[in-house]
């Protein structure tokens, strides 16, 4: 359904071309949920924006392709792009206030989106909006249509954003840190809701987050990103239980366990290379505890069987 092939995203700063995404490929089946996890600067949000055609200049796609339902969408412009983005892809961001216009009631925003994209009358659109809000668990949806974004709590706002993202039955929903700004108790509610709504609407989901807990709970497959590349991708349970890339292993080990208290946490030495750092070898090699000479010389490709792939020279699949 979605096919991302060898996509490169670059930005030009002071005549220097910096690579932000460096050759990412992935595919997504209809109705599937894929998680993208990584630390700040790994390029996970950029990847989401690149797929949705939402990169802000000077960021641009410098190579590769994005195909949605058999149609290339990475080179679309203007009205064509808006039609695809508005109709086929729904977006949910971390801060619900960035997705909602503070000057219009949530009813106006939902109804306008539905009428302009689906070409149906306002009364019908209003009925749809109420049904959608009801499905998100918002109390008194008919009455609350007239309310403005600031009159809702954070959790309720994110419900409205979910309704807005799903009101046109998109085939793909890209959710970028949808629960990061919320309290834990509300987080679980929103994750459940996202899962249920996307199932009901038959939408596939790309869930971008730094939180392994959210990934574990809500996704079927996960891609781990590091320095603009996917270093490991596979079924979520296998990636979490038996990670194959040293970075994934380090990441998992550095999360404090909830059921016991160790004396020390495993930590990854150093920090992620800055954007634009060009290394001849594996981007993780300077921090990798098991790096060998080859790791510093050439970049490993993703390899492995049963849909569980890792980009590491030390992984048996690579040799």
């Amino acid at each position: 359904m979605l096919e991302v092939r060898d996509i490169h995203v670059e930005v030009e700063i002071r005549r220097r071309r910096l690579k932000v995404i460096d050759g990412v490929s992935l595919s997504l089946a209809r109705g599937e949920t894929l998680g993208i996890v990584g630390e700040s600067g790994a390029g996970k949000s950029m990847l989401g924006n690149a797929i949705a055609g939402m990169l802000e200049p000077p960021l641009h796609i410098a190579g590769g392709s994005v195909t949605l339902e058999g149609r290339r969408i990475d080179d679309l412009k203007g009205e064509e792009l808006r039609a695809v983005r508005g109709r086929r892809i729904g977006m949910v961001f971390q801060d619900p206030l960035t997705s909602l216009n503070p000057l219009f009631s949530i009813g106006d925003q939902l109804v306008e989106t539905i009428t302009t994209r689906l070409g149906i009358g306002r009364a019908e659109a209003r009925r749809r909006a109420i049904a959608l809000l009801e499905a998100t668990g918002l109390p008194d949806p008919a009455e609350r249509l007239g309310h403005y974004p600031h009159q809702f709590s954070g959790g309720m706002r994110q419900r409205v954003v979910l309704a807005l993202a799903l009101c046109l039955d998109p085939v793909l929903v890209i959710a970028d840190e949808p629960t990061t700004a919320l309290d834990v108790s509300v987080q679980a509610q929103i994750i459940r809701l996202l899962d249920r709504l996307c199932r009901e609407h038959g939408s596939a989901v790309i869930l971008i987050t730094h939180d392994m807990g959210v990934i574990a709970e809500a996704t079927e497959r996960v891609a781990v990103m590091y320095a603009g590349r996917i270093v490991e991708i596979g079924p979520t349970e296998r990636v979490i239980r038996a990670p194959r890339h040293p970075y994934t292993r380090g990441l998992m080990a550095s999360i404090p366990p909830i059921d016991r208290r160790p004396d020390r946490l495993a930590q990854i030495a150093g920090s992620m290379p800055r954007i634009g750092t060009v290394l001849p070898g594996c981007p993780f090699s300077p921090r990798c505890p098991s790096a060998v000479a080859r790791c510093h010389e050439a970049i490993p490709a993703l390899a492995g069987g049963n849909g569980h792939l890792a980009a590491c020279w030390l992984d048996e699949a690579a040799s």
Partner: protein, 341 residues
């Protein structure tokens, strides 16, 4: 760190008794006069009793608006108390006479903030940032001695000596948090109040900072008051945990006991809502509803509208703290259970 390290007779380093802080959030008087609005008081912290033994870590957890950060600020003295008392090493901290003794005591409490980007002066070099508390609290210190102290502190938090000549923007988030810790340690504190010190950091960097904090505690015998909403980080760092909900402490106790056997329905729900990495794919059970506005908390036990065990009494009366071992729980349901058991 075992529970028997501290002699039971020793006086806690920090003692909070019936600590409360109210904020007046009424509209201005002319609006009240013409618009008919009334006075509104936000009870951010409402009657908290807690002890923090020397050399140990007490964490305060809870969701936004529960008052944990306000309580931390009260402990440092950033806000005056509305009611109650806070004693630090036996000295009443609500007395603010500006005396030498007061200043000397206050120096021993330092704070680390959540945002390492906002809490360091961007125009100062690291040497000056870390040297400032020495200059203020130990004015007799010579230039050379101060420089060598700064070098020592940098080494202690795991930074190179050449960091001293650089500015905060030249460091990553984790390194900046190390600088904040070095600055706090420069005043030779006994108590460090840490308000979400790792919340802005990535997990791999969080691990570095949490490890560092535990090493420093061992080395210097520091006492921590740790504020966080991240229960895994709390599990790793704490000896004691206090759970807050809408301004009240609903449960507290030894971390081990509280995590293994939570008593208050809110604590149980809160722990259940943490995703468990050992069981991927297991859905969490979310708590019904959201945290009500702290401006108009529900009467009785504040948790009653979301509580699965709520009884008629919970909607009208406020439960008192029932002691359980070294800790306590505020819940009528737990009270009855203990009485019948």
């Amino acid at each position: 760190m075992s529970a028997d390290r501290q002699a039971p007779a020793e006086r806690p380093l920090l003692e909070m008794r019936d600590v409360a802080r109210f904020f007046d959030v009424s509209p201005p008087w002319y609006q009240r006069l013409f618009g008919g609005g009334s006075r509104r008081v936000l009870r951010a912290v409402d009657g908290v009793d807690l002890d923090l033994p020397r050399g140990r870590t007490l964490s305060l957890v809870g969701e936004s608006g529960c008052g944990k950060s306000t309580l931390a600020r009260l402990a440092v003295g950033l806000y005056p108390l509305s009611r109650g008392s806070i004693r630090f090493d036996g000295m009443e901290m609500s007395v603010r006479d500006g005396s030498f003794a007061e200043r000397r005591t206050r120096r021993r409490i330092q704070m680390i903030f959540q945002d390492p980007f906002a809490s360091l002066n961007p125009r100062w070099r690291v040497a000056r940032i870390i040297g400032e508390p020495i200059r203020v609290h130990e004015p007799g210190t010579g230039e050379a001695e101060r420089r060598s102290r700064v070098r020592e502190l940098l080494e202690m938090v795991g930074l190179d000596a050449d960091a001293a000549a650089r500015y905060p923007h030249q460091f990553s988030g984790g390194q900046r948090q190390r600088i904040s810790i070095a600055r706090a340690l420069a005043a030779r504190p006994d108590l460090l109040i840490c308000d979400e010190p790792t919340s802005a950091l990535d997990v791999s960097v969080q691990a570095q900072i949490l490890n560092l904090m535990r090493e420093l505690q061992e080395e210097l015998g520091l006492t921590y008051l740790f504020i966080s909403h991240d229960l895994s980080a709390v599990r790793f760092i704490s000896d004691y945990v206090g759970v807050m909900y809408l301004g009240r402490l609903v449960e507290w106790g030894e971390a081990e006991t509280l995590f293994r056997n939570p008593r208050h329905p809110y604590t149980r729900k809160l722990l259940e809502s943490v995703p468990n990495l050992a069981e991927p794919g297991r859905a969490r059970t979310p708590i019904a509803g959201e945290v009500p506005s702290p401006l108009s908390p529900p009467p009785g036990c504040h948790f009653n509208p979301r509580c699965p065990l709520a009884m008629a009494k919970c909607r009208t009366d406020t439960p008192g703290m029932v002691r359980t071992g070294p800790g306590g729980v505020r819940c009528f349901a737990v009270e009855e259970e203990t009485a019948t058991a």
